[in-house]
Symmetry: C2
Subunit: 310 residues, 2 copies
Amino acid sequence: MAADPSSQVLVTGAGGFVGQALVRALAQHCRVTATDRSGLEFADLVGVTAVPGDLDDPALLAALTAAPFDAIVHLATVPGGAAEADPAPAARVNVAASMALIDAAAAHGNRPRVLFASSIAVFGDPLPAYVDDATAARPMLRYGAHKAMIEEWIATMTRRGAIRGLSLRLPGIVARPLGPSGMKSAFLSNLFHALKAGEPISLPVSTGASCWLLSLRGLIAQLCQALDLPADPADARLNLPAQRVILRDLVAEVARQTGHDPALMDYEPDPAIEAAFGRQPPLATPRADALGLRHDGSLGALVAQALADL
Amino acid sequence: MAADPSSQVLVTGAGGFVGQALVRALAQHCRVTATDRSGLEFADLVGVTAVPGDLDDPALLAALTAAPFDAIVHLATVPGGAAEADPAPAARVNVAASMALIDAAAAHGNRPRVLFASSIAVFGDPLPAYVDDATAARPMLRYGAHKAMIEEWIATMTRRGAIRGLSLRLPGIVARPLGPSGMKSAFLSNLFHALKAGEPISLPVSTGASCWLLSLRGLIAQLCQALDLPADPADARLNLPAQRVILRDLVAEVARQTGHDPALMDYEPDPAIEAAFGRQPPLATPRADALGLRHDGSLGALVAQALADL
């Protein structure tokens, strides 16, 4: 797929943090249609068609899916914090529009590959003492429930042979850009920006908080590999490999690589944030490992990759 | 709940086969608001408020949920055959409107009891050799996926403490009225009508087909009991007790009780219908059994109950 220059790939949420990087990676190998409400800055790329608009707009969806795609990477989402603040539009984008997109893409009969950016938010909190491929979804956030619901839709449509779907549970991806993201886990990225700038920052978790993390480059590599994996109608869900990082170790490594003082970090744990993002237990991903997907390899490599993209 | 005359209960899909019987049963004990697009014939009942309209209409939903309910029984649905024939409106009612109803009901902060009429369609086909409370959802029909998705929403909202939810997986309910129901399993009811009238009928399954069945009266009793069960945030899904009936035995018993010839039945198995509705394996429902829910007890009792309501 990623290596076939005639392949047509649709990327939703293409103006976002992950979407922009994915479009740039895919454009080296195939033809990309990129859609988002904003952020479609791909004029420098050959073979990328930008289609601005809201996925919740039936006219946009109809225009987007008028011709078949070989693959779709569905990243567009209203994230966790934003979905809690304004539930109705979040449900329209995260659930209704996602179902409509999948149905429209399937209607051409070409069984497109569909990668869905799900989230470890499907596991909710508190997490069990150990998470692996058999751990059941048990969301607590609206966002997590939305993701679990679309996982079910994709699994059903894959069993029916309408698509070749795969829902990928993304861990925390670092480091996202500064600014309002609507994500409750934004502090994990903001600490990179603060340390690089030598500025103090208050973190809403404890120094012992444990988080599953993957760099943006690590994620893009996994997404490109996943496009070419064979579809498995028996299990259309996959936990992505990630490193389990203790916050004090992460801060120390970012400080070391940026040459700043880890004492710039102040810790004011918020029990809800700590419960949702700071108590992630050991994670095993044997299915993804067997498929050849890899995390960044070491804390040093994760931090270096993340800092390189700031 | 069902025994408290000041309780306010909302029934959606109240004009349907199950809804009409449930409203009549509840009206003996509490105050009922009944909503549906049609079929709200409750002028003879005291304490029933009929609110006609489409649950997919935001104005109707806002009017319905302006005041809190102690309990909601959400029966309204676009059934399996109709959902396959016209997917988009089915998704709006079965998923989007169902989410909006639950959110609106929860917004009063009174943690209403919410019973959701899910379906054994969440199990899809082929079924494993044995089904019990641990069997995973694996839908094949759009309708089954819709039900599994709303089960997830109700489970999440129950874990959050917003509602006291319970999704009940309904087996085949007999005998539904004749006429277009949009249900692929309509043949299970139509055979009662044909034998009672002494008319021939062709069934789309084999004589050895096995089906999980419950009479309407048996279901109404289970629903009324379920209204008063304590909510279990750890598991908001429940398989209802049902009898596993072999079609030739069912036909023989209906023929015996109606005094007609079982040879009126002709069998022309449709592989898809047989797979979806005619290969239901032994079913164990220990959780529901422990909660005191019961099926009709015997094939004779099931058939007698069903014939009494024709």
